[in-house]
Symmetry: C2
Subunit: 326 residues, 2 copies
């Protein structure tokens, strides 16, 4: 474990315990099978980034109630619902070193338990009686489902532009991070400037987090990321390293890359060649810089708030998002 990660974990130890307890307490399924499948996806070594963002940014805004932990369950349930549905949509085989839920219980159960988790997220939100926050969460769900449709539509299309890539990851990842920050500002009834600064931080962190994830698929070994390296490419996902690599590649290399995008049956040697080309052409460095730029901007937005343990941990979380890209 890196020193940074260890410092973050020390700082949020009590928060993580409260978040885990709330995740168990708020689930309340009627059927054992629902509990089993929801538990499989929820209690699977997730980093709880979204709940932590919510709890820490609420603290940054001076919030002293208890709804932050409650809402953090709602966000994590929503996140788990999208994992269940997206793994099915992507045809993913594994998640965090274990078979994807739809491979164990089938598509039908993955769909329905995802629906249940989504509904739980909204029930929890509704129970707090804050229509603004309900509206934010419902709007988020719309964005996320459409981000996934967009990605699916352009699956395996080498013509996907960087602009489209950023639009897809905004909807499918960054908006959820932004929402975690917005909910805490709404809970704390923070001034508009604080809300906007926190949202900008969350959005930038979300972008960087997804870029890092997409980089890992080309740079890490399989054991580290808990799924097969190259699985994004096998699923036809056009991510930033590849988009940039295509743009930088000359005729023959470009043709070979396009063939790999279109034919998911490529060999390990093909993939090793592609990694080499992305490294040498500077495509990986380009993606790293895209993440760095966003993290630097995200941290600048935190400067609006006075120094505090919560602010320092939010800064650490931003650095941690970057550390994953190395």
């Amino acid at each position: 474990m890196s020193g940074l990660r260890a410092r973050i974990l020390r700082a949020v130890e009590a928060d993580l315990q409260a978040i885990e307890a709330a995740l168990v307490a708020n689930l309340t399924p009627h059927l054992d099978l629902v509990r089993e499948v929801a538990g499989y996806i929820l209690f699977n070594g997730g980093k709880r980034m979204r709940p932590l963002l919510l709890v820490l940014s609420a603290r940054l805004c001076g919030y002293r109630g208890t709804y932050d932990v409650v809402f953090s369950s709602a966000l994590e349930y929503l996140h788990a619902a999208t994992l269940l549905h997206d793994d099915l949509v992507d045809g993913a085989a594994t998640r965090r070193r274990k078979p994807a839920a739809h491979r164990i219980w089938g598509n039908a159960i993955a769909v329905l338990v995802g629906d249940f988790l989504l509904a739980r997220a909204l029930s929890i939100t509704a129970a707090t009686g804050n229509p603004k926050i309900v509206a934010v969460l419902a709007r988020l769900t719309e964005e996320m489902s459409q981000g996934e449709v967009h990605q699916l539509q352009r699956k395996g299309d080498p013509a996907l532009t960087e602009e489209e890539y950023f639009e897809v990851i905004r909807r499918k990842t960054a908006v959820l991070f932004e929402t975690a920050c917005r909910v805490s500002a709404l809970l704390a009834e923070a001034p508009a400037a604080a809300e906007e600064a926190l949202c900008a931080y969350g959005l930038g962190l979300g972008y960087a987090f997804q870029i890092a994830d997409d980089l890992l698929d080309y740079t890490a070994d399989s054991a580290r990321i808990g799924k097969d390296v190259g699985s994004d490419l096998r699923e036809g996902k056009m991510t930033l390293p590849l988009i940039r690599g295509l743009a930088l590649a000359g005729g023959e290399d470009r043709a070979r890359m396009i063939a790999m995008i279109r034919e998911p049956g490529f060999t390990e040697a093909d993939f090793a060649w592609l990694r080499g080309r992305l490294e040498e052409s500077g495509a990986l460095a380009y993606a790293r810089r895209a993440a760095e730029t966003r993290i630097a901007a995200a941290k600048r937005h935190l400067a609006l708030f006075p120094d505090s343990p919560a602010r320092r941990t939010l800064e650490d979380l931003a650095d941690y998002a970057l550390e994953r890209t190395l």
Copy 2:
């Protein structure tokens, strides 16, 4: 068209127009594909039972605002979302004489557009700023997803009891009808007694509507119901006519029925035999009586309200649910 159906359609002509216009106006998807798939399931000759229930029962409570039509979109989107997901879950081939959406666009799109419709339903609800109604809708979604899981778990299980059957159809159908009535009572800020009477009416109507649907699978011809007769049995769905038929059947007949439940490759002759047995043993009449009892009780609950055109149309809708079983 029956005289009853014609009379209902005359009475609700203006309401149906307002409902259709709201369904178009409130959808607001970002992507053309989402509009296309959502439109395919939404504008497909549906009877708009749930929106009509909401609009008519709001009128019964003296509501004079415009949110009833807005919420009626939310309920219909939610219903459409469950149709998309449930057809996938059930492996259904057709709906209303056309291929099921997942057969045209694939499972992934059916899942994601269902998620979008669910999110739209909740966004619309949230936008009206009434947390009670949001809570009712979110709770409904939880119930429905768990009803489907329950049904799926007991698929093809000849031991499913009547009690379980009623619990499944309560969650998957009746609660949505009940919710349509509850939302209108909440909108109109109706007294508790009126809310409870309307909810009891909606719940009873919902039960009867589902029992009628389940009967049609054994009694109608394929052209009338827009899907293959016997498809419930082929999907392993244990419905009331079959549950009762099994209970009434002697040794050999019972064994043959169980074999058909377990082996969806049964022939048309097998199915004709089964229909005959259910008719002769009184199983179909038993299911019809179960629907009749609930409709009679539902109509009695309306007696709390003074006579009015809206009340008469709600009574007609109840009779219409029964007429479908004949």
